[in-house]
């Protein structure tokens, strides 16, 4: 569980995070989006009890970050923006070191580390010097480091940056597989497709403030208006337009297609299809016009 209340951080008069209120329940994944310098990393650092809030508070995994920072850090897995590895160390040695710092015994540490390395398709990384790894391997090793102590809260800052598409998919799948009833995950990313795929909820942060929060569908509804439906016909639209217009406002029209906005598609769409059938107008296809999260994001950050 992550819960923040007016979480604020100032550095020498500069407000990096300004009164952030967030709640992420166990079993949920929240994607924190925002332009560079919006306050994502500072928020994550406060949630990881590395930085203390100037005002407000955060409770992570049941512990207040200000009052019990060590308990919070014990229960948080943090993937930092930069992998931050010790390049002279061997992969296995590195994971053992961090596992031991988190209080794991050597056997558990080695077993979990090997399992994760296998899962990320890099079992050979155990015996190789980190300095010899590719960028993607380094990122995956850092992710294993964050997962090693099986934390109930995962804070992942740009988890798939610098990864090739295959590795990125492996990591995304891993994140989805990590979602269970007791684990809370927060992902900071610039990859909007990734956010849409993995996140239950999206929060957009701008100039240190949360400016939009909700499920992807809610945000689209809220910021882009009701869903846009496209009706394709086997004939021209001449007879169909007045039928559709009875149920929903028509937005655009082509030779054999009509687009309309539907506040409640589950009610409007069957009614339109039924009406068209009664009027003997053959329907080829009815579908929602895809609206990307990118449109939502740009609408928010440019406003």
């Amino acid at each position: 569980m992550i819960q923040t209340e007016r979480l604020t951080k100032r550095f020498n008069g500069f407000t990096a995070v300004d009164g952030v209120n967030l709640t992420v329940r166990p079993g949920r994944i929240l994607a924190l989006l925002g332009p560079n310098g919006a306050g994502k990393t500072t928020t994550v650092r406060m949630l990881a009890a590395i930085l203390m809030p100037t005002e407000g508070r955060a409770v992570v995994a049941g512990y207040d970050t200000r009052q019990d920072p060590i308990a919070v850090r014990q229960r948080v897995g943090l993937l930092t923006e930069q992998p931050g590895l010790y390049l002279r160390m061997y992969g296995g040695e590195y994971l053992e070191f961090f596992g031991r710092l988190y209080g794991l015994d050597l056997e558990t540490c080695q077993r979990r580390a090997r399992e994760w390395l296998d899962r990320f398709a890099m079992p050979e990384a155990w015996g190789r010097r980190i300095g010899e790894y590719s960028k993607g391997m380094r990122q995956k090793l850092a992710l294993v480091r964050a997962l090693l102590h099986d934390p109930p809260v995962l804070l992942l800052d740009e988890p798939t940056s610098a990864m090739d598409p295959h590795s990125a998919k492996l990591v995304r799948d891993a994140i989805l597989s990590l979602r269970d009833e007791r684990r809370t995950i927060l992902v900071c990313t610039h990859n909007l497709m990734e956010a849409e795929v993995v996140a239950d909820e999206i929060a957009i942060i701008r100039k240190g403030q949360i400016v939009a929060l909700g499920t992807p569908a809610e945000l689209k509804q809220q910021l882009l208006g009701p869903p846009l439906m496209e009706l394709r016909l086997a004939t021209s639209t001449d007879g169909a337009r007045p039928v559709v217009a009875r149920w929903a406002p028509v937005v655009e029209e082509g030779p054999n297609w009509i687009r309309y906005r539907a506040d409640a598609p589950e009610k409007v769409n069957p009614a339109i299809v039924r009406a068209l059938a009664e009027a003997n107008i053959p329907v080829v296809m009815l579908s929602e016009v895809p609206r990307s999260l990118e449109a939502v994001y740009l609408r928010v950050v440019e406003s």
């Binding site: 569980m1 590395i50 409770v59 308990a71 850090r73 010790y86 850092a142």
Partner: protein
Amino acid sequence: MSEVGRPYEFRRSLWIRQIWHLLWRELRDYLRDWRILFPIFALTLLFPFVMRFITGYLESSFYERWGAEGVTTRLLPLMLLLVGFVPVSISLVIALETFVGEKERMSLEPLLATPLSNLQLYMGKMMAALLLPLMAATVGIAFYMTILPIQARPNASTLLQIMLLTFGKALVMVSGAVIVSSQTTSVRAANLLASFILVPMALLVQQESFILLEGGNRLLWYILLFLLVANVMLVRMGIRLFNREELLGREIDELNLRNIWRMFRKYFVWERWFFGQPPERLPRSLRWVSTWTGLYLREIPRILGRSRLALALVLVSLLGAIWVGGALAIRFRLPSEYIPLNQVTEETFRQASAALPWLPALTVWGILGNNLRSLTLAAILGTCSFGALAAILLMIPIAIIAYLTFQVAWAGYDPLVFLLTFIFPHGVLELPAAIFATALAVRLGATFIAPPRGMNVGEGWMQALTDFVKGFLGVAVPLLALAAAVEVFLTPALVLAVYGK
């Protein structure tokens, strides 16, 4: 908000193990870096050979040319000092790199995200930086001893002193360097600041050499004590200064004058106050009064409150000064004819001033200027010495007064009358002003070791500085000016009236 869990359970064994894991990782990393290993190896095993060759050469050349047979025996401990110190200087490089190097390589944040406390991180890193050079120094000294002829080896006491001095210097250098490393944002900046550590230590080695040549082994124990105290101060300072916020929050070492000025103003400005009345309700022409009542009735008491520990420390050190004055008086008792109080005339006053040119001229400006210079110096020295030298500076005149009072008593005069005539008239103003200003100067240095709660060192020091400025200008200067006037116009008249012929 959700339920907050139980506090983190502290387990001593895990606490120690975590430090050990950190220490061991660091050591392993150093042992894989040939840039660290090679100099340590060279300085540990080759340097003693070089030193042995130099002493052999000096021995033969001096003996052949001057017949100076004992030179080598005298030089050997100096060579041991160098054999120990040179590998230890490597510790500076390692310690300087310890935090800021990790920050530059961006490997620090994952470490800061672990459940290690600030103290564990500090201790693990510091011990790792210390261990290898100390081992190298020990091996170097041992190796040097084995290649020396038995009759040329220094005795056990000197050897122990040299070992302890080497360890003491290593500790001071490492604890100083760890502070530098945790407060800078680049290895380059840390290296630039390293000279502030290395130069005093190199000078100390020189001084130790002179002392060893002179055979002043007792003085070396005092140096060791000094190193120990300095080390305790630096470690405490390091632990207080080391925090995750500073390490991650600061990105550039910038001298931002605007920010400094803004912070100075923030702490310098005090609230206007006029006996509970809003200053705006005062007649416009009288509002300035609320600035002064605010300063003297609200702000100065607050400054006194913030300075209570420093004030207590200054008062204790003044008691110490009286004790020192008394002890010196017992040891160096003056013959009574050296204290001719019953022969004081205006002429003797003038003669005394001429005979003691280091005393300030007996004018208001002369005395005031001298006192202001002393207290300004106290502030500067206090800042550079964690406050210690500021207190010592005030102890000196008090010890002198105590010394003279004892002498006066032994010469057959009433010490109370002496104090009431020579000291009290101006001292009643001067001493409180000096104690207050010295306490503020002590805070300027002590802030580095113990910044006030909720403040970082920069904020704490700025508050101490603004408190010093307000206390100095608002309290000390007016009191000292009055005291100087009393000392010039009243004290001599009183002395002449009581003792004069």
